[in-house]
């Protein structure tokens, strides 16, 4: 007999439709769970409200990322064309009045920096990449990317209990309830 240590990650319950998952999420939110999530093949409109989540803060990251880009482009162009090596071409001055000619590159670098912040900010907020996760140990979980809708209530939630959480998931319409155990 092997001795494999296992840690309980939480309960996984399946729901039959988007509508059922949505209402179940509202119930879980009102019950006061904190460490839980719903899993779906596509983003569900309005689910943030049903889960009681606030708007993503990503847009702030992106704003500052973009502003950095604007500034970087300005410094790059002003520094090189005016300060380091004043370049007199096309009858344009080599001082701050050249600014309009710098706008295209300032715009492009704003977008470039904002785009990078956006994607990598999203990865950081979502803790990606993370190739392994206890949730993948659940037997039916791989169907989340096809047509299944799941709710997972994690064991680290203060309100988690092995019996009551299961009963709660059954009560709100979950089926195929599975205790996710991760080998450690």
């Amino acid at each position: 007999m092997s001795t494999v240590l296992k840690r309980v990650h939480g309960y996984l319950a399946e729901f039959g439709s988007v509508n059922e998952l949505y209402h179940a999420a509202e119930e879980a939110r009102d019950e006061g769970f904190k460490k839980w999530d719903v899993f779906s093949p596509f983003p569900i409109h309005g689910m943030d409200g049903a889960m009681g989540l606030k708007k993503s803060i990503l847009s702030w990251f992106v704003f500052f990322g973009g502003a950095t880009g604007t500034l970087a482009a300005f410094i790059l162009q002003y520094g090189t064309q005016v300060v380091l090596y004043p370049t007199f071409v096309q009858d344009k001055p080599a001082n701050i009045a050249t600014l309009p000619a710098f706008f295209p590159v300032m715009f492009e670098l704003t977008v470039l920096f904002a785009g990078f912040t956006c994607v990598f900010g999203m990865f950081i907020l979502n803790r990606l990449p993370r190739l392994n996760h206890p949730i993948f140990a659940a037997k039916s979980f791989h169907r989340f990317s096809d047509d299944a809708f799941f709710m997972v209530i994690e064991a680290r939630d203060p309100r988690f209990s092995k019996e009551k959480t299961r009963e709660f998931l059954e009560k709100i319409g979950g089926y195929n309830i599975e205790l996710i155990e991760d080998e450690i």
């Binding site: 988007v18 779906s40 596509f42 983003p43 569900i44 689910m47 943030d48 096309q90 295209p104 956006c118």
Partner: protein, 499 residues
């Protein structure tokens, strides 16, 4: 129960409510969509795939040979002469960049304007964008003459401490195109992550699962992830929208900021952008109509999609036609002799054949899309798109070559004809483009699986099954019969349709 309370206008004649055409036909289920799209990647490719792929590889080889020959010999192996220094190289550059624009338009602008039909075509169109920009990038990089000096374009000072001229539109172009490519790659990849997770979850353990798994980054589809993901997608769309408009505007600045008659016009930025969207959509349809047929995607790319894109072709084609005519008007109205001469040359000069080719392909051909029958006949659509592809290439040729072949001094005039290397280089880029697109079909989901699922009626959290919703698209509560619930102070409009 709901009928017991009679609404005030119960006796009023009920207006028939037209339903929106479904985006996915035959009420396909989520798993059908997954199976159909992933099946393309998981099963053996049809014989036609190989029939297209092998010649593409050969053309790619020819492209490689032509480029190596050019690098080894010099840019003189192309037909460039004095005064036509830009020739086919820049024509092809603008042509390919323009094709890319439809992908970004579909993925970004149609996303912001909530055109849900975009989900069936955006993935392939974005892939097309990337491959087209790759093809485009070849030309300016080699047109610099000494390819090994191409790093001079990067903002690095040369040995004398002199920096690039940031006041030059050509340098703006370097920044615009490279930013565009980078952002397009990011946007495309972000869109791919959930679908790569689908492929990962379907694959048996092995190299395929490992690779898809790595690129899916461990995506788990939790709403706590989707929340940030959707915000990222929205922001990328919002960033790409002005970006795509800026790229072709900057490309047009290459011409418009010069003083060459025929180039020095303020209409260029909007005209180029409209032309880019026009040419790009034609290429999307050129590629997607066969893909739809070969892989049996008729329920996902429906006649409605083709119809919408044909309408966009009609609109942008007409904008382009307006621009052609307005250019002439302004040349005459501006009273500049050189400008007038340039446009007379364009229409009736040595290159009149190219001009009329462009005009008939771009302006006259898409006018058939005024007719419903033409928009719904796949063969007509495809043939018109081929005309547009050709016409848009001729547009760039006409703008570039006619303007500089006969500029100010008659003594400097010359006729431009391409060299054989130049022609094969251009054909070779089609090989590169096709080979990359076919590899994309082979290894990645051609339709954004997660996004298509998201626009099905059953993906609405208020959907109860059998076309019944608890709320309409504006959040109004609906009765059991699908009509809007009466509230004390409602607007007098008739019952809203369940969308």
């Amino acid at each position: 129960m709901a009928n017991s309370t009679t609404s005030p206008d119960a006796d009023a004649p009920t207006l028939p409510v037209l339903k929106r055409e479904p985006l996915v036909l035959r009420d396909r289920s989520y798993s059908w969509i997954t199976n159909r799209i992933c099946g393309i990647v998981e099963n053996k490719q049809p014989i036609l795939w190989w029939i297209l792929f092998l010649p593409s590889l050969v053309l790619m080889g020819i492209l490689g040979y032509c480029l190596a020959y050019l690098i080894a010999t010099g840019v003189g192996v192309w037909g460039n002469n004095h005064p036509v220094g830009w020739g086919w190289a820049i024509t092809n550059f603008v042509f390919w960049i323009g094709i890319g624009h439809a992908g970004t338009l579909i993925s970004a602008i149609l996303f912001l304007t909530r055109q849900k039909w975009r989900t069936s075509v955006n993935r392939a169109a974005e892939a097309m964008t990337l491959f087209a920009v790759m093809c485009a990038g070849i030309y300016p990089a080699l047109h610099v003459g000494r390819f090994w000096m191409v790093w001079f374009l990067a903002p690095v000072p040369n040995a004398n401490g002199i920096w690039q001229n940031f006041k030059s539109p050509l340098l703006w172009d370097v920044f615009a195109v490279s930013t565009y490519f980078t952002i397009s790659v990011l946007f495309w990849f972000v869109g791919l992550v959930p679908d790569l997770a689908t492929l990962r979850d379907r694959a048996k353990p092995g190299i395929r699962k490992t690779l898809y798994g790595i690129f899916a980054l461990g995506w788990r589809g939790g709403n706590r992830q989707w929340r940030h993901y959707e915000m990222a997608y929205l922001l990328l769309a919002a960033l790409s929208t002005p970006l795509v408009l800026s790229v072709h505007s900057v490309v047009s600045f290459d011409f418009a900021t010069s003083i060459v008659p025929g180039w020095h016009t303020t209409i260029f930025p909007p005209y180029f952008v409209a032309g880019a969207v026009f040419g790009g959509f034609a290429m999307v349809l050129t590629l997607m109509i066969p893909v739809r047929r070969i892989y049996g995607l008729h329920d996902l790319i429906t006649p409605k999609h083709v119809d919408n894109m044909a309408k966009i072709l009609l609109l942008t084609g007409s904008i382009v036609g307006y621009a052609y005519i307005m250019e002439f008007f302004i040349a005459w109205y501006g009273g500049n002799k050189f400008e007038i001469a340039a446009f007379q040359n364009r229409m009736f000069g040595h290159y009149a054949w190219a001009y009329w080719m462009m005009f008939s392909c771009n302006v006259i051909a898409p006018q058939v899309f005024w007719f419903h029958w033409c928009r719904h006949n796949i063969y007509v659509v495809w043939i018109v798109c081929m005309f547009v592809n050709m016409g848009m290439w001729f547009e760039r040729f006409v703008i570039i070559v006619t303007s500089i072949a006969q500029d100010f001094l008659p003594g400097a005039w010359d006729y431009y004809s391409p060299s054989i290397t130049e022609i094969w280089t251009f054909i070779g880029t089609f090989g590169l483009f096709m080979a990359l697109f076919l590899l994309f079909l082979r290894f990645l989901p051609v339709i954004a699986i997660a996004e298509v699922k998201g626009v099905l009626p059953q993906s609405d959290p208020h959907y109860l099954g059998d076309d019944k919703f608890t709320h309409d698209a504006w959040g109004n509560e609906l009765d059991e019969d699908g009509s809007k619930k009466e509230k004390p102070a409602t607007s007098p409009e008739p019952a809203a349709a369940p969308s």
